[in-house]
Symmetry: C2
């Protein structure tokens, strides 16, 4: 099934390394968000498990460019890839990888976004449902009162007034079908996604 040896030359003979157009390694990224950074000791050698120190982090220039491109088109044709790579002094492969990762990130962000949206929609819906339940109860009570009133009024006099047509028309069936059914679920559903999930991830995103 797999005749090919996967490794036919073993370890790196470091060939090339890139110019550092932007002080990638020495470049600090003072995030505007953190005010109390104390910028303490930095790791000094950070050689990885393989004993190699690798280049990481694209420069902010590069990222900006890439983001722009990504904004206009998530996909990446060879053309653009080559062009971009040349323009940014990157390996085309890196550009491809960047786009792939960016798409993944995009999906993840979208999920978070959609989740919050859905959550708030749900909350709204549940609140609304509660109000409806309440209103429904009131209405039922009103109706009951009205029926009693009708009963009272018609009892006092002739007994075969159009009253009968009323209670046949819109009476019991509906009430029977739904009854109080709603109320049992109101709080159940409203609690469900609100205070429940005891874990963390619920408030970790805000974009």
């Amino acid at each position: 099934m797999n005749p090919e040896a996967l490794v036919d030359e073993q370890m790196p003979l470091i060939s090339q390394y890139y110019p550092d157009p932007d002080g990638i390694y020495t470049q600090f990224v003072p995030q505007p968000g953190a005010a109390k950074t104390k910028a303490r000791r930095r790791r000094r050698k950070s050689k990885g498990i393989e004993g190699v120190m690798r280049k990481r982090k694209l420069s902010s220039e590069q990222v900006k460019m890439l983001e722009e491109c990504f904004g206009s088109e998530q996909k990446l044709e060879s053309d653009r890839k080559e062009r971009l790579a040349a323009e940014l002094g990157l390996d085309p492969r890196q550009v491809a990888v960047w786009f792939q990762n960016r798409r993944a990130r995009w999906k993840s962000n979208k999920l978070h976004e959609e989740y919050s949206k859905l959550k708030s929609d749900h909350h709204t819906a549940v609140l609304h449902k509660c109000r409806l339940e309440t209103e429904l109860l009131k209405l039922k009570e009103q109706l009951h009162e009205a029926e009693k009133e009708i009963q009272r009024l018609s009892d006092g006099f002739s007994s075969n007034s159009p009253c009968s047509s009323f209670s046949m028309e819109v009476g019991a069936p509906f009430l029977g079908e739904f009854g109080m059914e709603g109320l049992e679920n109101v709080f159940y559903t409203s609690d469900q996604n609100y205070s429940a999930h005891g874990m963390e991830w619920d408030n970790l995103y805000y974009m």
Copy 2:
């Protein structure tokens, strides 16, 4: 702010590479899901952009072990880390990294899960809301009929019957407050998170 040079030794002098306890490279992973895999050509040299070859997959044995540990406890104390690392023939650092990545993955999965759950809850709630709206309409109609009936009945006779106490008690205010308000939102909310995501993602990132 950053007196320290981050790089004090530059490129890889490949030092160590790992024993291959499990035929990592030759090991095929016949995923139970994919039936029509054709397993074509394999990468042969895979040296990275920097000319370094790295990142071997952990063997399935190792992963299995790690998963077990993770299952019993997501966090990882030095003890366990060292022990595990020794047991699996891995660098303790790798074990730590694995756990970090695993926790991240766990959160991501959790989010997916919660999202589906919430979505179906929302769907249910919206359906319920629809039914309530419908029932409400019916009830209002009934009530209206009843009131007409009462009107009719009381018109024919004395004009100051207890009827007044009824309409004061549970009459207009509630109906006025809610009215038809509900129906406008029912379908709106249900559509919202379904087909939308247009093309805004370019500005939702980069915080």
